[in-house]
Symmetry: D2
Subunit: 254 residues, 4 copies
Amino acid sequence: MRKKIDFNSDMGEAFGAYTMGLDEEILEHITSANIACGFHAGDPMVMRQTVQLAEERGVAIGAHPGLPDLMGFGRRDMAVSPEEAKSYITYQVGALTAFTKAKKLQHVKPHGALYNMAVRNKELAKAIAEAVKEFDKSLILVVLAGTEWVQIVQEVGVKVAREVFADRALNPDGSLVPRSKPGSVIHDLNEVVARSLKMITQGKVTAINGQEIAIQADTISLHSDTPGAVQLAKTLKEHLKAEGIEIAPIGTFL
Amino acid sequence: MRKKIDFNSDMGEAFGAYTMGLDEEILEHITSANIACGFHAGDPMVMRQTVQLAEERGVAIGAHPGLPDLMGFGRRDMAVSPEEAKSYITYQVGALTAFTKAKKLQHVKPHGALYNMAVRNKELAKAIAEAVKEFDKSLILVVLAGTEWVQIVQEVGVKVAREVFADRALNPDGSLVPRSKPGSVIHDLNEVVARSLKMITQGKVTAINGQEIAIQADTISLHSDTPGAVQLAKTLKEHLKAEGIEIAPIGTFL
Amino acid sequence: MRKKIDFNSDMGEAFGAYTMGLDEEILEHITSANIACGFHAGDPMVMRQTVQLAEERGVAIGAHPGLPDLMGFGRRDMAVSPEEAKSYITYQVGALTAFTKAKKLQHVKPHGALYNMAVRNKELAKAIAEAVKEFDKSLILVVLAGTEWVQIVQEVGVKVAREVFADRALNPDGSLVPRSKPGSVIHDLNEVVARSLKMITQGKVTAINGQEIAIQADTISLHSDTPGAVQLAKTLKEHLKAEGIEIAPIGTFL
Amino acid sequence: MRKKIDFNSDMGEAFGAYTMGLDEEILEHITSANIACGFHAGDPMVMRQTVQLAEERGVAIGAHPGLPDLMGFGRRDMAVSPEEAKSYITYQVGALTAFTKAKKLQHVKPHGALYNMAVRNKELAKAIAEAVKEFDKSLILVVLAGTEWVQIVQEVGVKVAREVFADRALNPDGSLVPRSKPGSVIHDLNEVVARSLKMITQGKVTAINGQEIAIQADTISLHSDTPGAVQLAKTLKEHLKAEGIEIAPIGTFL
């Protein structure tokens, strides 16, 4: 059993006059921030502000690059080639890095459809890892725990953080149940807490078909836009501390 | 009289299926490339390819950030605030940097309306310089020779390269005659060569009203999309060599 | 004194995953809806849904075209040519019309910076009016009351509705005090109601410098995103009814 | 054997400062123009100009709506829902219609990936047809000849034109061989002419595997961006005339 776990959350997903999420509140409770980079969400003003908020609170900063689909919030699969995906990652990771004081990120976590496509598409997964490696080989790439993606990234030679989702149902193969399907998002706070604890402390989780599957987590994803995310973070932190597990940025233990 | 001069050209202005300019040809004749960063032109695929072309030819690389106006090619003034301009510069400069092998640029040259607005607007000029300084204080900012912009950048503490245009007419105050006005672009190759030589070797140029004005040039802008740009570059180079002037990237002598 | 007045509100300003305004609530209290057309805000899904909401409630539908500046919510001046503005209007008005059952709109009201630029720029104002006339010469163009824009539209041969703002301060020449200036938006509900009543029933309003100016109103703009807009609409309606003034769509009395 | 055939071509695919295709030349040789609507290509200025060019030459006008993917020129599959596709069609068809003198189109032809996805996806094909029907039930929808798409459109109650491609290879099921595969585009002019004649006069074509398949054509697609398209159009027209076949817009015989 790991003695440390990271709490991550997507943020900086506002755009121009549009707001999204409760970044300031959730920042108090996480250790790693995945900041949108202007493709699926975020804009340069929002990026600067969000990076600054995270830096002020000592939260580790990562890029959250997405597909060039603002209208679909990066949630719609697009038939981008591995070369295109690679260049989109390079572009967005570079752009976000420029806003940090250190000119250095902790991690990269692909967003939405890009993340889900990487779970299924080896060439795409490899291209994303190569983009990260070429930009800064000390960066950590956050990928879905329990999937082949983990090995692909390791083979490219990039450090990997295995991510689990506090409130998302899983298929027996470890992939996320798509949001379009019933039961994909777990809304009951107690169940979310119980699942999260079991994943982190026992390395196990119950898939949507009732089957118990093994899962190894380095970081747990909390939603900044889910009502109750703050409450979830607090409750989870208390339970984990009681079990002797420390909440810390992935960069400190991977 | 300066013994060195830089030849720069805007490039990487293709977008998706759309082509623009003769980058490969003009790259043979310049020492510094201003590469579009995805706002007014360019996309991540084009940026990677253009950076690679410049690196292969040993041409120094700079960012050519523009306004978020692809439909207007960044040529239309927009009432962006200094804070917005600053963040747009940070974003685009970071994005382009990520595509270079060295993860380092030589210079930044604002594009189109952003460049022209900076000539007239002190606060904007200052914000752009601050963005450059915060990102990498060793970068050179390319600005219009003979304008107040030069001093503003120097006061911020950023190295400045004074740019002259081979084929653009000037107002008596040193600003560019807008493209919308007759006579703004000089099409006669002999005249373009003669003006360029006079600016570089004598530090003088004739404004559109016939008045002779003083001008100090560190770099001369050649258009990759002007028919005859390659011929101009060749002819100019020959004449300059004959005068004992070396063509070299600004980073080697500023 | 006019016996009828229209209540209009901007709406349909959501975009993709981003929400904006309280369209459903404010729709209960207005007679004309200005629906965003995808340039400064709105997208095809949002447009379809918003048109349907307005049709269900019997609220007259108009297009609310803006500048191609989603990142700036169409609030930043852009140096578009009259020809560009004309084509942007044609495009957006056509797009919105397609979502209506009747394939016909009641009116067009330019948004944000396009509206403000039309107040100051005769050529732009004329181009917008010509776009409306060419598309459907029975449409009403909503313009700022008390400005030269009214005459320009009439000269082109387009019906005009003079608009006043319930909660915006005015310069002595009738133009809106820009949002960037202090006092530009009036937040006190009682004052907003009192000003509105005076404009509608007496044809007078107090400018920001204290001067009383004449103003003729056909429609009053209520914000869907101002807290208290619904309360304002209700209160205003009661007072107007007590004065014998009917609230009705501009298309029924112009 | 049909005695009439339509020649169609995609056009108006420029965007801002970017040019594309040889619209003016190809317009001399076609009877129906498919004009881009601003999503995959085209902008309001280009649309107005292209509509005007087509009107001046008496070429029938249709909308050529695409996916919201300018960077990919609408050629990349996107997982848009049928509802999204429907609204994207409504929006773009409405926008283009607004630029025509008659405020009426002849036809609608989906572009690129949207076209190819409709060949494979019944729900999407149905949604597109419904968008066309709701907008104007007299419009003709241009679809790929020899596919199930033909029936789907007819069942919705929309007039259908069966399209064949002069220079594209076909799979045995009648679908287009994707551009990414070798042999997808036929470059030999003689072969393109021979294939076209056989399709139009005999209702037959040879698939990429050598198999002869039946095909019924109402309109033949000529590319405005293929070198030799003008020559192809001329040659084809001569041969068809010699066979007693008239070239006419689909609207005149469907």
